[in-house]
Each structure stands twice: as structure tokens, then as C-alpha cells.
């Protein structure tokens, strides 16, 4: 195939794909060569004279019945593999997938949150999908699975990863400005490594940075100096920027108060030349302090 077959569903999907592609290729070659043969054989330049054939009931029946049978075969194998892909086994690890413009967040049963989907090799995983704002679609090509994340309801997917490594996650339902940047990775790791991560890594590292990741801020703001949908966080503290406040432009130096205000009320002072699209994301006062603190030190 064109990309790795990294899950149980990938195998069903690819088998179905090749069966249908082979039938289709035979039909296409048949139709095209019949067309070319007739053009050549009955060409007027070769002196062909037309005979008025009106049609043929037998032929009409044949080329109605055979396609009906063929498409029913395709339907049945497609439906069968679909059912396998949709039937969730009983023993399954559940991960919550929260989609928002324009980031993914994965929540585990023990309260762990991560912006990459980490899963153990060979164990079935069920994803419970939801969206905080508009439609998104959760897609892992290497696993051949996809389902929309719909605001106001929950949808699901499941898979058993069968290959260790890191695979792309895309959003495939157009969701606005940053749609093509709404990417993540699924990291398939050996069970032991996964358990270590799942139980061990708690609140280590920089709390503020972790929050920036968890809240999805890094979907639009980078920490390496390149502007994305919003301005970069690198060296933001003390930077002089032009903002638009209530329709009027003014120049300010970024300080702690400004950063907090921008998180609590993103529309208040919009940095010029960036789209006014930042959502209000709930934060506790303690989290706000931690984020502000880490931004202050991002140089």
C-alpha cells in the first residue's frame, strides 16, 4: 500500500480496497479497449458502412444483471469490514479526544492529559470524540480510521495498534483558518514504556509550558519565534506591539497584566495583522499565574 498498515482496521480496509480496485480496473480496461476497438474496426476511413442495429434485449439484461451482482458483492464486503471496524471489543482502554480550533487534546482515565496520543502496542483503544466549537474530523491514515468530532454529541472510534512508531493525525473536516495546522501524532509504544509514562510522568517539568500544551495554546502560538495563526511566544514578554483596542490602534509593551488580560478576554487588545479568532479558554487563577510565569521566561 501507499502508507504503513499500522492497525487492525488497516488490514481489512486494504484487502477490501484491492478487491474493488481489481474489479474496477478490469471494467475500465474492458470499456476502454471495446471503445478503441470499435473506433478502429468500424472507422469510416476504412470504408465501414453502417448497419442499422436497434438494440438487443439480451445484451441489455446481461449488462444490467452483471453490474448489479458486482456492486452487491462490493457492498457486502464493504459492509462486513465496516462492521468489524465499528465493533468495539469489551476489554478496551478509553481515551477522550477533545478537538478545538485548532488543536487536539487527549485525556486519559487517570486524569493525564497530553497533546500527543500515546497508546500501547497491541492493546485495543477506544476513542471518545467530542468538539468544543465547530466540526472537526479525527483521522489517522496509517490506521485507516476517521470520524467527525461533532459539538454537542459524542462519537467514537476504536483500533488496535499493530506497529510501533509515530503516525500522523490530521483534522479532515474544514474548521477555519488554522485547519491545515491542526495536526498531532499517535505514538505507539511498547506496553512497558507506555505504563511507565502512564503511571510515572505526572507534574514533572515546567507546569506553565505543560499548561500551554494542554490548553491547546501551542496550536496557534509557537515557542520557536515563527508566527503561526497568532504571534509567537518566544520573547513575548517586554516586546513592543501594536494592538487594536476597541477599534483603535495603540502601541504597548507586553507585560504580565497584558498577558493575563489576553488570556481571559482575547478580544480586548488584538495584536495588529493577526485574525481575531482566539477563543476564551477557561483557566483557574493558579493556572493563569503559571502560564504568565512561563511566558515571562520564554526567551
Amino acid at each position: 500500500m501507499f502508507i504503513p498498515e499500522a492497525s487492525n482496521s488497516a488490514h481489512y480496509v486494504d484487502t477490501t480496497f484491492w478487491v474493488i480496485v481489481v474489479i474496477s480496473a478490469v471494467l475500465l480496461v474492458g470499456v476502454t479497449s471495446a471503445m478503441l476497438f470499435l473506433i478502429f474496426r468500424y472507422n469510416r476511413r476504412r470504408g465501414a458502412k453502417a448497419e442499422q442495429v436497434q438494440g438487443g434485449t439480451a445484451l441489455e439484461i446481461i449488462w444490467t444483471v452483471i453490474p448489479v451482482v458486482l456492486v452487491l458483492v462490493m457492498f457486502v464486503i464493504g459492509e462486513k469490514s465496516f462492521r468489524l471496524i465499528r465493533s468495539v471489543p469489551r476489554e478496551v482502554m478509553t481515551v477522550r479526544v477533545d478537538a478545538r480550533q485548532w488543536s487536539w487534546m487527549f485525556g486519559y482515565d487517570n486524569g493525564l492529559r497530553s497533546d500527543q496520543l500515546r497508546v500501547p502496542l497491541g492493546k485495543p483503544v477506544k476513542l471518545r470524540l467530542s468538539s468544543a466549537d465547530v466540526l472537526h474530523s479525527f483521522y489517522i491514515p496509517a490506521f485507516r480510521i476517521k470520524e467527525d468530532c461533532v459539538p454537542g454529541m459524542e462519537t467514537y472510534l476504536w483500533f488496535t495498534p499493530q506497529q510501533q512508531g509515530s503516525f500522523d493525525i490530521f483534522c479532515t473536516e474544514y474548521c477555519g483558518l488554522g485547519h491545515s495546522g491542526m495536526l498531532a501524532k499517535v505514538l505507539v509504544m511498547p506496553e512497558k514504556e507506555f505504563t511507565d509514562w502512564y503511571t510515572g510522568s505526572g507534574a514533572k517539568g515546567n507546569r506553565g509550558l505543560q499548561l500551554l500544551q494542554e490548553k491547546g495554546c501551542l496550536g496557534c502560538h509557537t515557542t520557536d519565534g515563527t508566527p503561526k495563526v497568532g504571534p509567537t511566544f518566544k520573547g513575548i514578554y517586554g516586546r513592543t506591539v501594536t494592538v487594536i483596542t476597541a477599534g483603535k490602534e495603540r502601541t504597548i509593551a507586553v507585560d504580565g497584566d497584558y498577558l493575563k488580560r489576553s488570556i481571559l478576554d482575547p478580544g480586548a487588545d488584538m495584536v495588529k495583522d493577526f485574525p481575531p479568532v482566539m477563543p476564551k479558554i477557561p483557566v483557574t487563577p493558579e493556572e493563569l499565574e503559571a502560564i504568565e510565569d512561563s511566558l515571562e521566561h520564554l526567551r
Binding site: M1, I3, V13, T16, F17, I20, V21, S24, L27, L28, V31, T32, A34, M35, L38, I39, Y42, N43, R44, A48, A50, E51, Q54, G55, G56, L59, E60, W63, P67, V68, V71, F75, G78, E79, F82, I85, R86, D133, V134, L135, S137, Y139, P141, R144, I145, K146, E147, D148, V150, P151, G152, M153, D168, C171, T172, E173, Y174, L177, H179, S180
Partner: protein, 535 residues
């Protein structure tokens, strides 16, 4: 010789503008032929805009960020889709060739409601103008994709309401044209023109017209609800207010899937005209072709859910929609087999109209077969929302409806304008377009299989090669289009005078001079046999 004894040469419809002169003799005309030409020029003008937007998108995709911003790109794919679908393909063949040839094919002097006919064009051009306006007014061009999925389309600040109003108005033009055609076909057939003596183009227009009448109101309601929701925050589709975004998808596709058949059926009608003429033989299986049009139109209503296999609707509804989707493929297959069989024991002349039909069959077959792939439930989970879909519907809409349109354009050009085009240039253009088309869109299938999502401004490195290939294809295709239209425009002014029947056609338009007179027929023709009799 006394002047009286000479038959006064009748003025053609191009010279005889009726009550008005100049531009007014066109925009206030009630002559179905002039209205057909009005539509022809308007749809191709919008087509040109749509093509340029498409080329710009492909340009941006060689090196994202270099030529335009993400915001601009998102508007480009939205407006490209809206223009090509609502202003080009949907009105395309029915409103231009349909208006011009439907009354003539039936042996009538005009459609049933000539004034309604010109009113429809006015609605179309007004709606089109509003749509174009929505690109330039403050707020910015719509950025939702042509599907306007809620709740994003409710929340965005771009000019979605204006664009939706434009489409709403264009929709009424489509409904009224459908109404006019159905009435004309029922009431205005010449003596002896029984149902099964009608040209197959008319059968396809008949099926299309019913779909236009019955399906378009659903679109109108959907857009109206969207506009109301945007203006007053009513909450039909916004989940925060108790609305349902999936209901929007149902309503949208309840129209937009039948609309796919509004787009493709008339092209199939054109192809059904051309095969007999260039084979000098009756169509193989007239009734099978006629009834398959009705079959497609009927089943076309019941398959909209296949656009929503990953939307979150119930698994049982996915299974049902998949089953019907597979069945709707059968009547299209029947048509393809009958067209090909028409050449059997014929006397085939491969001129440009037939070349476009052969390309139609090849490209439409790929479209149909890839349609089976994405209609398969398990494969849809993999390929939905990727470039595979983009490739598939461009093969259907452009390779199918578009090439069918070009086939008709070359076939009927001499009749409509009284001039012949350069055949060699037409063939060259056809060849370049065919090559460019396949490079442009086949690479999209490969991109889809690699997992490249659609509507992406930027992409990961593994997709780069196929994106560049696709863009190169777009330039080749554009070159072919330029040659084709250049050749036809040149022919308008410098082409040789066309004889009444350059291709040896047997339907009624070929009994008239090229171009026909304003009244079409001096005396109402009496029809004695089927449409494709070559002797």
C-alpha cells in the same frame, strides 16, 4: 428576375433581435435561442473566473505561504467551488443548449413560458453578481468551503450570508427553468413527436428538470435557515442553542446530491446525441438509455447520506445509504455500455465532438469506479475528506459534465453561430486537455491514498511530489482550454460559413439553416419516425 419570385432569405435569430436593438435586443429578448446564447456566454465567463481561482490554488500548493496567506487560500477554494458548481455546471448545459435546442428538438417555436425564461436569466445573473460582490465587500470572501457546514458557517465573520443569498436567488432561476422545460416537453411537442420519438437529450433534460423543481427548494430552505441563524442567532444548527450540525449536513446534501445528477444528466444527454450521428447509426437501446436517465434521477434522491459516512450519524443509516449508492451506479453503467455498443457495425467518424465524448466515457468511468471505492463503507472511513474525494468529484464534474459540455459546444457550434471552427486546432486542444486533466487529477487519487486531507493550505513533506505533479497538470490543462476557446472565438469571426447539416445529424435542428431563423420552423414539422434515422 422580379424580386417577388425570389424567396426572401429569412433573417437568422442573430440578425433579428425583435423589438429592441443592440444590447437590449439580448437582455430583454424572449427568444429561447438568444436566451441560450446569453446563458452560454455568462456560464463560460463564470467558468473562466473559477478556472483562474483553481489555478491560483494549485499555484499556492507548490510552495504554501509564498504566494498567498492561509485566509486567502481558504476563500479561494470556497469561491472556486461555489462558482463552478452553482454558476457553471448546474445551469451549464440545460440553460444554454437546453434553451437553444429543446424547443427545436420538439418542433416548437419557443418554450412554454418565454418571459419566465428571460426572467430566469435575470435571476441567475443577479444571484451571480451578488456572489461575486461577496468576494470584494468588507468582511471578506466566504471561507467555509462550498458546503457551508454549520456551525463554522454561523460563526465566521466572512460574507457567508451574502454568498448564500446569491445562491438562493440562482436557485430560483434553476427551479423556473426546470418548470419551463417540463411544461414545454409535455405541451409543445410537434404533431407525431411521441414520447419515444424524442431525442435522448430531451429525455435527459426532462429527468434533470424534475430534479431541479423538486430538489432545489430544499437548498433554498437550508440557505434561508443559515441566513436567519446568522442574522438573528435563532439556533437551528448551533448546538449551543439546541441546534444540530448534522441536520445541516442532511439538508444540504438532500439537495446537493441530486444536484450532482442535475450536473451530469444533461451531459449524458449530449453524449447520447453525438454517438449516433458520428456512427451514422441508431442509438443502441433507445429505451434503456431513456429510462436509465429517469432511474438515475429517482435513485439520485436517496443517496445523499453517502457524503456523511463519517459524520457521526448512526451506523444503520450508513449501511442503507451505501447499499442504495451502489445501486445508483448501475443505470450509469447501462448508459456507457449502450453508447459504446452504438458504434458496433456503425460507420464511425472521429471528429472533435466524438473525441470529447470518448474522453467523457473514459473519465466518467474512472469517476464512477472511484465512486464505488468511496461508496464502500470501510474504504470511506479511510478516504473521506481526503484528496481522493477531490480527485473523484473532479473526474465526475469536470471529466464528466465538463467534457460533455465541450462535446456539445463543438457539436452545436456550427448550428448556433453559423460558422465552422478549425477541426485540427480543436483536436489539438482536446489532446492537451485530456493529458493535462489526468496529470492534474489522477495525482489527487494518489495524494488521497497517502492520507492527504483536502482543504489544507500547507501540508507535510511526504505529499510534496504529488502536489507539484498536480500543479504541472493544471498548467497543461489551462493551455488546452486556452487553445479550445481561442479556436472557437476565432471561428466566430473568421470561421467558414457552416452548412445546415455539417455532421449529417438527423434530429430536427439539422433541418434548419445555420443559424436558425427567429421562428425556428416556417411550418410546424410533422414527425414520422424516431430521432436517429440514417439512411
Amino acid at each position: 428576375m422580379p424580386a417577388e419570385s425570389m424567396a426572401t432569405p429569412e433573417k437568422s435569430y442573430l440578425e433579428d433581435g425583435g423589438r429592441f436593438r443592440g444590447l437590449f435586443s439580448w437582455i430583454f429578448t424572449t427568444d429561447h435561442k438568444r436566451i441560450g446564447i446569453l446563458y452560454l456566454t455568462s456560464v463560460f465567463s463564470f467558468f473562466a473566473i473559477g478556472v483562474i481561482l483553481g489555478l491560483l490554488m494549485r499555484l499556492s500548493l507548490i510552495e504554501p505561504g509564498r504566494f498567498m496567506s492561509e485566509r486567502t487560500y481558504n476563500s479561494l477554494f470556497t469561491v472556486h467551488g461555489v462558482i463552478q458548481i452553482f454558476l457553471f455546471i448546474i445551469p451549464g448545459i440545460p440553460a444554454s443548449f437546453g434553451n437553444f435546442f429543446l424547443p427545436i428538438h420538439l418542433g416548437a417555436r419557443d418554450v412554454a413560458f418565454p418571459r419566465l425564461n428571460i426572467f430566469s436569466w435575470w435571476l441567475y445573473i443577479t444571484g451571480g453578481a451578488i456572489l461575486i460582490l461577496s468576494i470584494f465587500l468588507p468582511g471578506g470572501a466566504p471561507d467555509t468551503g462550498w458546503t457551508f457546514y454549520a456551525p463554522y458557517s454561523i460563526r465566521t465573520t466572512s460574507n457567508v450570508s451574502l454568498a448564500a443569498s446569491g445562491i438562493f436567488i440562482v436557485g430560483f432561476s434553476s427551479i423556473l427553468t426546470g418548470l419551463n422545460f417540463v411544461t414545454t416537453i409535455h405541451r409543445m411537442r410537434a404533431p407525431g413527436m411521441k414520447w419515444f420519438r424524442m431525442p435522448l437529450f430531451i429525455w435527459s433534460l426532462y429527468a434533470t428538470a424534475w430534479t431541479q423543481i423538486l430538489a432545489t427548494p430544499v437548498l433554498a430552505i437550508t440557505l434561508l435557515l443559515l441566513i436567519l441563524e446568522r442574522s438573528f442567532g435563532i439556533g437551528f444548527f448551533e448546538p449551543l442553542k439546541g441546534g444540530d450540525p448534522i441536520m445541516f449536513e442532511h439538508l444540504f446534501w438532500m439537495y446537493s446530491h441530486p444536484a450532482v445528477y442535475i450536473m451530469i444528466l444533461p451531459a449524458m444527454g449530449v453524449v447520447s446525441e453525438i454517438f449516433p450521428v458520428f456512427s451514422r447509426k441508431n442509438i443502441f437501446g433507445y429505451k434503456a438509455v431513456a429510462f436509465s436517465s429517469l432511474g438515475i434521477a429517482f435513485f439520485g434522491y436517496l443517496v445523499w447520506g453517502h457524503h456523511m459516512f463519517t459524520s457521526g450519524m448512526s451506523d444503520i443509516s450508513r449501511v442503507i445509504f451505501s447499499l442504495i449508492t451502489f445501486l445508483v451506479a448501475v443505470p450509469s453503467g447501462i448508459k456507457v455500455f449502450n453508447w459504446i455498443a452504438t458504434m458496433y457495425k456503425g460507420s464511425v467518424r472521429v471528429d472533435s465532438p466524438l473525441l470529447f465524448c470518448l474522453a467523457f466515457i473514459f473519465l466518467f468511468s474512472i469517476a464512477g469506479l472511484t465512486g464505488l471505492i468511496i461508496g464502500t463503507l470501510s474504504l470511506n472511513l479511510y478516504l473521506h475528506g481526503t484528496y481522493f474525494i477531490v480527485g473523484h468529484f473532479h473526474y465526475t464534474m469536470f471529466g464528466g459534465a465538463g467534457f460533455g459540455f465541450f462535446a456539445g459546444l463543438h457539436y452545436w457550434f456550427p448550428k448556433m453561430f453559423g460558422r465552422m471552427f478549425n477541426e485540427r486546432a480543436a483536436k489539438t486542444a482536446w489532446f492537451i486537455m485530456f493529458i493535462g486533466f489526468n496529470i492534474l487529477y489522477f495525482s489527487m487519487f494518489l495524494l488521497g491514498l497517502q492520507g492527504m486531507p483536502r482543504r489544507y493550505f500547507q501540508y507535510l513533506p511526504q505529499f510534496r511530489t504529488n502536489h507539484i505533479l498536480s500543479t504541472i497538470g493544471s498548467w497543461i490543462l489551462a493551455l488546452g482550454l486556452l487553445i479550445m476557446f481561442g479556436n472557437l472565438i476565432r471561428a466566430l469571426f473568421r470561421g467558414e460559413k457552416a452548412p445546415a447539416n455539417p455532421w449529417g445529424g438527423s434530429t430536427l435542428e439539422w433541418t434548419l439553416p445555420s443559424p436558425p431563423s427567429r421562428e425556428n420552423f416556417r411550418e410546424t414539422p410533422v414527425v414520422k419516425g424516431g430521432p436517429y434515422t440514417f439512411g
